[in-house]
Structure formats: structure tokens, C-alpha cells
Symmetry: C2
Subunit: 340 residues, 2 copies
DNA sequence: TTGTACGCGTTATCAA
DNA sequence: TTGATAACGCGTACAA
């Protein structure tokens, strides 16, 4: 172990120590070709000995890359933001790139301006967008106009202009509702996501298709609007469970809402999983900590983020649309058959 | 509204448009003195017209400041991280400074190295530390050695070397437990926080002091260890409620744990708030969305972060220790008197 | 395979 | 109160 110096070392010092030119050190740093092994080793050792770290500022200023990617993530749920950041960061760590992340508010009128400001100031190598910003035309147009690289996570529709990473929300929702039906449920409530998210409509479609395939007629009173957060899930469930012929199962479009529905069920004295099955999407890994366990579709938010960042950093050229398979995770809450 | 140009504008272009020198533009940007109002207005208008944003990279390279602060925040809970980021960011926005934030893992052996790397690469103007990193000697020593500015949030002990922002955890816990006692409770369970956080011990002390002042003898079986997360709260409550003479109230050291305790209570058929009162710290704003409402100490995490960042940015010189008053929030869960 | 010279866009220094 | 010029630490273009 070399004690790290109190002052920052520069590339020049490394060059002197390794008895090579500055440019050669730069070559090693950037993994360029045409370097003899001997020189490379010498340089690497000097870097280690001096605990040298290149200055982001200087690299960004001199080169074409800034070695930074920006995560533009709105905040439906802190868990969601956290998972996104973790996924992006993991990939950045491997690529030796810095993540720039900060909570954004989709409701601010000058969101586009804020993002533009970020771009001008930091000159990121690329951006990761999450819903619903993926679907904001003014933002997308601006990125396009500036010829910036970006990847969309779960966009409303796939574009030929940029890469996207997503899961098949419709199929996933359908699979989960079909499972509830297979347990014997016929009256299944639906709590929708926030209307400004495209995934909300996709998941509703999946719900409806599952009913349709099972020959169950759609009862629109069984569909309530949510906002992807705990509170709206609790309210939505209250609305559903106040119906005369109330549902025997509830499908919530996110885990925050499913957890809210659970809370309401408890409040009403419905002992899940005896009298009510609750299922939902595990967008935010919240289902992991909920008791009793929910039946969920595991949407690996972190993996979406990780994959998207990989696409951004490692495949400069082609536009790709990558679908990540969802995984249906069956848990205890709905494992008990309806009415024993 | 000026249509923002597709390409980034430079300080040089601004200077030409305002018919002044580059340096003068720089003066305006940095709020330096000795500028005539006339010139200042001309420059400001040119900046607006060109939608000019200074390059972070160039500023950082040329100047002594990088206009960036780093938030070194561990992840006891995604909500906590989110609140911290929001608070720091709000202050950064006002000061026109960029926040660098990314989840850290307190368990990684090379945490100090990771932070050092961040510092070397980004050269931040200052750092915000959160527990338990505030109490890691190797990290603190490194910061001290490099003469970096940093502010600690809720550190284990106040140091004369750096500023700190905190609430009186002992007094807050004491107040909350005293309130439970005033409701008639005598057997009050305690679920502690993660042992590596200093706040855990502080809150336990508050719990004990409240009992002591009420003349209630401490029963160590009533104190269980938690880890500040939902799961450990649920487990801790299960342990407490399995006792022969089980507690009539539970005080959890965080809201995640309080929510966990709630879940356990429901599972056991204890209808909160009939047979059991649950109270806790609202570290992460989770209590806001829990049903039934918890009685909490609102620890304004976001405000702690906001204040700490303000200290860092606006008071370069003196070391200050700032205490933020806590707030006791009475909610339904414990509002009902014991046994009606 | 390696080195030299220049420039990136801003701030700092010093002179006017 | 303003301006000219030299850094800042690295990547790029080109030469050796």
C-alpha cells in the first residue's frame, strides 16, 4: 500500500516517474493501442504509486468526451429513483464514467430548460431518460437537435431515433391477472398508475386482455385511477372495497400502490390472504419488504437502468430496442385459493 | 423568449456581443465588484440572449472553485437518500452549484478510496457527510489532511474541526416516550436502530431517560435491536409481542421500523390503535404514507441537508454547530388512551 | 511505437 | 473600473 499523497498528482508527474512523455501516459489512461507492454506496465505502476486520478475537468475540456452521463429521472417514488441511480451507477463504475443524477420534477414548466442547462454545463456523453420524460416532445426534440446520445427506459412508443430498454408491460400485467383468474377469482379490481405514464395504459390493457381471454366481462367500476404512490393505492382500494359486490382480488399497477391497498385491506379487517388477494408490479422493490408478501411481477428497475446505461456507453452507433424479460414471482399473498 | 441555439455559446461570444472583454463577462458571472451598472446590464442581456451557460469543466480547471459539492450519503433507506438529495439540491440551486450524488455503501472496504477518487476527479468545493460515514475516522482524517471543507449531518460527536447540523435525538426520543407514558402506557417496547449509527444510541438514551423520569423500571427484554429498516422493525416487534407480558406500546427508532412493527401488529391481529400504540421517528417521511397514522418525531431530513449545504457554501470560515428543533407530531395511532 | 505543439473555455495576475 | 495574457491539465493532430 502506498500512502496516498495529500495533494493531487498530475499526469506530468506520472510521466516523469515512468520516464515517458505525457502523451504516453494519456494513451495508457485511454486504453489506446500501439503501446509496448513494457511501457504500459511502467506507466501503470507510476499511476498506482502516485495514486493518480485524471481530472475530469481537464479531460472534459480537452477531449470530446466528458466521461459523464446524466440520469434524468423523475420521482414517482423514492424507491424508484434509488433503484435507477443504483443501476446506472453500477454500469458507470465498470465504464469508469461518472453519473450525474439529481431528482427532477416533471411538473416544473421549465424542465426542458433545466435539462438544457445541465447539458451546457456538464456536456455529458449521454443521457438516460425515464418515464414520463421519455415522452416529452420538447425535451426529445432538443436532444435530437443537439445530436446528443440518449437512451429511453420504458418509453411510450419506440422510436427509430434512439435506443430503448423496456419490459413488455402489457404481457406482464396480463400474466399476473391470468394467474389471479386461475386461482378462481372472477371479480378483480384494478388500480391504475399515474395517467401521465405510458406504462399505466399498457398495464391496464394487460388487465383487460386477461379478463377478455377468460370470458370475464369488464366492469368499469372495477377500474380505479391511481398515481403510482402509496396513498393513491390505499384510496383506490378503499373505493373498490366499498362496492356492493366487492372484488375478491386487486391488481395494483405498482408496488407502492399494492402496499397501500394492503394497508386499506387491513384497516377494513380483511385478513389478507384469506378474503382478498392483492397483486402488483414490483417496480421499486418495495414488495420485498411488505408483509404479507404480495404476488408480484418483478420489474427489475435496476436492471433496466443498468442495461440502458450499457447501451449508451458501449454501443455508440446503432439504435437498439432491448426487451428485458419480466419474471412472474408468485408469493404467499395470493397463493391461498379463493375461499379456501 | 429567445430560441436557444443548438450549439453551445462561449464566454467569448458573449463578450463580443456586449462589446466588452472576456474578463468583464467573467466578472459578471462571478458577481465580482468594480463593475459599472451599465456594463453589467449589457453583459447580462447578452448572456440571456445567447442562453449562455459557463462550462463547468473550464471553470473547474481554471479557477479555485469547481462549483460542485459532493453528497456522501449511505443508504439506510431509499427514502432517506432521496430526502437528503432533495435538500442538498435545493440549496445548490440557489447557490448555482452542482450537486454530485451517488449511493455509497458503508460496508465497502475501500470507501475511503472511493471518496478520494471522487475528490481527485471532481475537485468539489465541499462535501456533505451523513451517518455513519460522519464517524469513520479514516475518511475524516483524509478530508482533514487535504484541507477540504465538509459538513457533517448528525455526527456521533461534535468536533471543533468541522461544522455540523443535527437535532437533539435524545431529547426527541425522550419527548415521544414521555408522551406514550402520558397516555397511560407503562410497558413500552423499544426497537433500536442500526448499531453503527450514533443516533441509535442517542435515541435509546432518550427512551431510557423518559422511563427513568416516570419512575418506570427498565426491563431490558423490552429493548430489541433493529437495523433501521422495515424488516428489522417487523422482526423486532414480533420479538416484543411474543413476550409473556407484552408491551402496550412500541417506540421504534425510525419510521421504516415503525411501519414494520405496524405490519407485525396487523399480522398478529392486534388492531392498532386499540390494543397497541406505535410511535417512531419520521426520518424518511415514510410515516406520511403509513396507515394508520403513526405518532412521530418529525426529523426533517431534507431540512438538515438543506441547512448543512448552506453552511458549507455560505460560511467559509467558522466552524458552526447548528441544532434544528424537532417537532412532535401527534397522530391517531396513539391518540386513543390505553384501554379506552 | 513514441513524442511535440497546440488548444479547449474559463479564472488569476497584473497592468492600464 | 476595465483589459491583455498566462495559466489550469488533459486530449488531438501531426511529426518522428
Amino acid at each position: 500500500m502506498t500512502p496516498s499523497p495529500a495533494r493531487k498528482s498530475t499526469i506530468k508527474q506520472v510521466a516523469e516517474r515512468a520516464a515517458v512523455s505525457i502523451k504516453t501516459v494519456s494513451r495508457v489512461l485511454n486504453n489506446e493501442r500501439y503501446i509496448s507492454d513494457d511501457v504500459r506496465h511502467r506507466v501503470e505502476q507510476a499511476i498506482r504509486e502516485l495514486a493518480f486520478q485524471p481530472s475530469q475537468a481537464a479531460r472534459a475540456l480537452a477531449g470530446k468526451r466528458s466521461h459523464q452521463v446524466a440520469l434524468i429521472c423523475d420521482n414517482p417514488s423514492p424507491y424508484y429513483v434509488y433503484e435507477m441511480q443504483s443501476g446506472v451507477r453500477a454500469q458507470c463504475l465498470e465504464a469508469n464514467v461518472r453519473m450525474i443524477a439529481q431528482p427532477y420534477d416533471r411538473n416544473s414548466v421549465d424542465l426542458r430548460h433545466q435539462i438544457e442547462q445541465l447539458i451546457d454545463q456538464t456536456n455529458p456523453d449521454g443521457l438516460i431518460l425515464t418515464p414520463p420524460i421519455t415522452d416529452f416532445d420538447d425535451v426529445i426534440d432538443m436532444l435530437q437537435q443537439r445530436r446528443l446520445k440518449y437512451v429511453c427506459i420504458s418509453p411510450a412508443k419506440l422510436s427509430t431515433k434512439c435506443s430503448a430498454v423496456f419490459i413488455d408491460n402489457l404481457a406482464a400485467a396480463q400474466a399476473l391477472v391470468a394467474y389471479l383468474i386461475s386461482l378462481g377469482h372472477r371479480r378483480i379490481g384494478f388500480i391504475g398508475g399515474h395517467p401521465s405514464y405510458a406504462t399505466s395504459a399498457q398495464r391496464r390493457s394487460g388487465y383487460r386482455r386477461a379478463l377478455e381471454l377468460a370470458g370475464i366481462e369488464l366492469d368499469t367500476r372495477m377500474e380505479v385511477q391511481g398515481e403510482y404512490d402509496f396513498r393513491s393505492g390505499a384510496d383506490g382500494a378503499a373505493q373498490l372495497l366499498a362496492l356492493g359486490d366487492r372484488p375478491t382480488a386487486i391488481f395494483a399497477s405498482s408496488d407502492d400502490m399494492a402496499a397501500g391497498a394492503l394497508a386499506t385491506a387491513h384497516r377494513l379487517g380483511l385478513n389478507v390472504p384469506g378474503q382478498l388477494s392483492i397483486a402488483g408490479f414490483d417496480d421499486t422493490a418495495l414488495a420485498e419488504v411488505v408483509w404479507p408478501p404480495l404476488t408480484t411481477i418483478r420489474q427489475p428497475t435496476r436492471e433496466l437502468a443498468y442495461t440502458a446505461t450499457g447501451l449508451l456507453l458501449n454501443r455508440p452507433e446503432p439504435v437498439e430496442h432491448l426487451e428485458i424479460p419480466f419474471e412472474l414471482i408468485l408469493r404467499q399473498s395470493t397463493a391461498a385459493r379463493l375461499n379456501g
